[in-house]
Each structure stands twice: as structure tokens, then as C-alpha cells.
């Protein structure tokens, strides 16, 4: 009797599996994808740049300043602050901006770069630290996750490394 019940359960399960397989492209994949999307996860700040601190409006374009990103215990990145210029189309051919990164009303770095006419051409730029909290970068492109001036789609992403010990997060 037990064997019979087990068999019935097994075949019912196998039939259900076929229903599950048939529903993967129409229902199940979407359900599981939505569950992952709704799980409250976020991409690591080393890739995403972290949380937006404030937005500076420059009329045609805006400068988005992010919160400083500090590496976790064994994470192999330097601490940095991400600054995004967007949209690229609205930027002047030559950008040279003094930016207040920590919100104290004083400029912390000067970011300079020239936009090549060809969007696929490599972008290089300079970051000049205006105080000891930040590290200057000269003629930089995508050197590392903490040091970069790159074009990423419709944005120019700049990452300014911080001197270690200057981050309070």
C-alpha cells in the first residue's frame, strides 16, 4: 500500500514537473525574475559607484556627486568618490569644473576633459585635488575601479580616489 501511494505521489510530482517546465517561458521565469528584482539587492558600489549624495544643475547638463565608497575589509579597491556628468550630448567640447565633493561649500577637485568628436574614441581627463583629502589624476582613463575618467553610455563617469583614512562611512 505504501509503495502504491509513493508511486502515485511520484507520478503526480513528475506530471507537475512537466507543467512547471511548460510554464517556464510564460510564467515561471518572470515570477522568479521579479522575486530577485524585488529582493532589495543592489550592485556592489565598486561597480555602481554607490549612493547619490547630491545633484548639481549646470543648466544644460548636471553633475551627480555620489557618496564616498570605502572598500570592505578585504576588498581590493581604493576608497573613491564617483562624479557623473550627464547627458554627454549636452556637455561642452571642453569641460573644466571645480566640484564640491563633500558638500562643505568649498571646491575639492577640478575635473577637466575634452570630449572627442567620435563617441567611440578613448576619453582621457585630469583630476586636480584642491585639498589633501583627494588624490590627483593626470591623463587618466579607465585605470582601475577607483581611478577613472570614462565614457559610459550617455554619461561621463569620473572616480576620484580618496586618501586612506579620510572617509567616514
Amino acid at each position: 500500500m505504501r509503495r502504491r501511494i509513493l508511486s502515485i505521489l511520484a507520478y503526480t510530482g513528475a506530471a507537475l514537473m512537466l507543467v512547471v517546465a511548460a510554464s517556464v517561458p510564460f510564467v515561471l521565469m518572470g515570477v522568479f525574475s521579479k522575486a530577485v528584482a524585488d529582493a532589495g539587492l543592489h550592485i556592489d558600489a565598486a561597480y555602481s559607484g554607490g549612493t547619490v549624495a547630491r545633484i548639481i544643475d549646470r543648466g544644460g547638463y548636471k553633475i551627480v556627486v555620489y557618496q564616498p565608497v570605502e572598500p570592505r575589509l578585504l576588498e581590493r579597491i581604493e576608497p573613491f568618490v564617483q562624479v557623473v556628468f550627464e547627458p554627454v550630448d549636452a556637455l561642452p567640447a571642453r569641460v573644466s569644473e571645480e566640484i564640491d565633493l563633500d558638500g562643505d561649500g568649498q571646491p575639492d577637485v577640478r575635473v577637466s576633459f575634452s570630449l572627442p568628436a567620435d563617441p567611440n574614441a578613448p576619453l582621457r581627463g585630469d583630476v586636480t585635488a584642491l585639498n589633501g583629502k583627494y588624490i590627483s589624476l593626470t591623463n587618466v582613463t579607465g585605470e582601475s575601479f577607483s581611478r577613472m575618467v570614462v565614457r559610459a553610455g550617455k554619461q561621463i563617469v569620473v572616480r576620484v580616489p580618496l586618501n586612506r583614512g579620510s572617509v567616514n562611512r
Partner: protein, 394 residues
Amino acid sequence: MASPSSAPARPPAFRSIGRSILLTLPIALWSLLMFTPSFRSGGRALSIGAVLVIVFMTSLFFLMMRTGETYRWRRIFFVALGFLFPVGFIASLIAERGTMSIPISRMVSGDTPFCFMVTPALILPAAFARTIVFPGSILPTASNPHSIAVMIGLWFAFTLVLGKAWCSYACFFGGMDEGFAAFGKRRRLHRFVTKYGSILRLIPWAILLCVVLLSAALFEPFYCMWLCPFKTVTEFPAVRDLETALQFGVFVTLFVGLVVVLPYLTKKRTQCGFFCPFGAFQSLFNKINLFDIRFDREKCFDCGLCQTSCPTVALSKESVREGKTLLNCMKCGACVDACKKDAAVWHLKGTPVAVKPERARLLFLYGAWALATMFGGSILANSIATMVHWLPLK
């Protein structure tokens, strides 16, 4: 050890043509359903790809029904998937960015397509820091439709149905080492693999443990950064310093060693069976899967053919004596097809062993082949479409 009989127990034609066609009909209809959107909106090249894939997948399933063999026909699909996937993938990378390397700008903009191989490495950072250590995007975007949520959703749905059989019916990498293992007939290093099989099959678990812990400690996808052989034929971090040059060197060495040379020498899927941490992770889902391979002890005479034929050393003498496979069995069907006494059988858990094994095989294959057609089939169709673009057929 008894010597195997020379005459196979299973006759060459297992079912009548009519009955085989009837059993293939659901897969033919499913294939049509899956590829109808390609005809509607995919253009000429994709339509050609879709037609070829429908014919290919349906024919292979028909042959499985007609001959009663699984492994031989599944391998044709799987090797085709393994070798054609890079064709379509690399072509799309070249068209989009002109190179196979991922520049850092694409990583920070979340444009890296998500690969299921990284899934186990995400678990600890996601659980404890709600952070995904992968340079992709969680939701699909115009520039990255293969987002993390979509790919994990797809993987989980597949895993519910297939368990570890993912590695034989869905993985778009495994066909490469299975393909190289199929070249030539002479089996070298056989004694080594047999003697050290019990150790070799533990290596993926050790790598899995290292990858999970190091990814959590370093907050980076350690396997993708340092150990994935398939970076060689897909995409890899752009070489910009000594570290990235070293990474690329490791990828190429692992690919040549584990995917090309060792499979050729051993006739085993060495990357899948002796290295892949995702495969080890996927083995855990065999515990919740309804299907497995069992051995009818009354018919088995310990000839060892099943162990020799297993591409991932998922059988040991002891396990066969217990009538079971090991946890890392990927249900490819090689042992069932190799067994000349029909002692190795497909089995539905909860039912008696060797009672209606063909029913268990059919139930498993319908689910597995439906998903293989949906996922692998669409990859094949896209790759064929890419090649049609290259050929002067316009």
C-alpha cells in the same frame, strides 16, 4: 569482473516509426511555439535559424524515441550548443564594441551580461550585505537584456525541473569539453582517471568552497576574475595592467588544459567533472529532483562499462553496487546507453527500480528537451542567424 556480452540487449530500432513520431509530436509543437516570435519579428536570418533549430531539435528527439538511446543524440545538440554559442556571442560583442574584452566603462555602466556560473559566488554577499558582487544590472536594460534578475530567474526555473541535468541539457559551455572529448577514439590517461576518480570528483567542491568564501571576502566575482576557462571564448576584462594580463593568461591556460587537451586525452568532460564549481553547486539540486539513474542489481554483472562511459566520473564501484549514481550525476544517459544488460535505468524517485524505466525516461526527457529547446535552441538559432549574416546569401 565479468566480461560484457558483445550483443546489446536493446535492439537497434527500439520503437516503430509511427509511435516514435507520435511521441515526438509534443516536442515538435513546443518547438514551433517557442520559435513563432522569430518568424514574426526576427528577420530572414533568424527565421532561417529558427527553422533549422526546429528541425534539429525535433529530429534528435525523434531519434531518441526511435532508438531508445539518449546520450548519443543529446550529445549532438549539446556539442552544437557549446561550439555555436561563442560564435553568436563573440559576433554580438564585436558588432557592439569591436572587441571581446570588457572595458571598465562597461562594467561601471552595468552592461556586463550575467552568466549563471557566478551564481554560487553571489549568495553570501547577497545574504549578509544585500549586495551583488557582479558588474551587471539587476533589471534588464536596453543595452543589457541579460540582467541578473532575468538570468537567475531562468536558472532557478530550470533547476527545479532539471536539477544537475542543467549540466547536460542547458549549460552553453559544457558542450565544448564534451565535443573535444568526442574527438578520436583512443582513451589515454584512463588508468589515472580511474585510480584517482574519487579525488578528482572532489576538486569542484573544493573550488566551490574557495570561490564562495573568496568572493564574499574580496567582494568580487572571484571565479569570473580568475578561474573561468570560458572567458577565453566569450569576454574577459580588458588587459590594462599586469594583473589583468595574468588573469587572461590563466583563462587561456585553463581553457586549453581543461576544455581542449584533457577531454581529448581522457574522453571525459574534465572541466565539468573535475573543475567547475557551478557544477558542484548544481549537484546539490539533484537531491530535490525527481529523476535519477539507478542500477538493477539483478541484471548488473559489474562489467564496469557504465563507469568507463560516464563523462564526469559520477559512478564508483561502490555506488553501482548500491544501485545508485553519485551526487554529481548529470543525467546525460551515457551509462544507460552503454549498459549491455539494461541494468542501468532511468528512474522516478518513489517508484520501484527497473519497473517501467522507459516511462521515467520519457517523463524526464519531455521536461529536459522542452527546456533545452527553449534555451539552447534560441542560442543556436541566434548563432545560426549570425552565420547567415556572414554568408553571402542575401
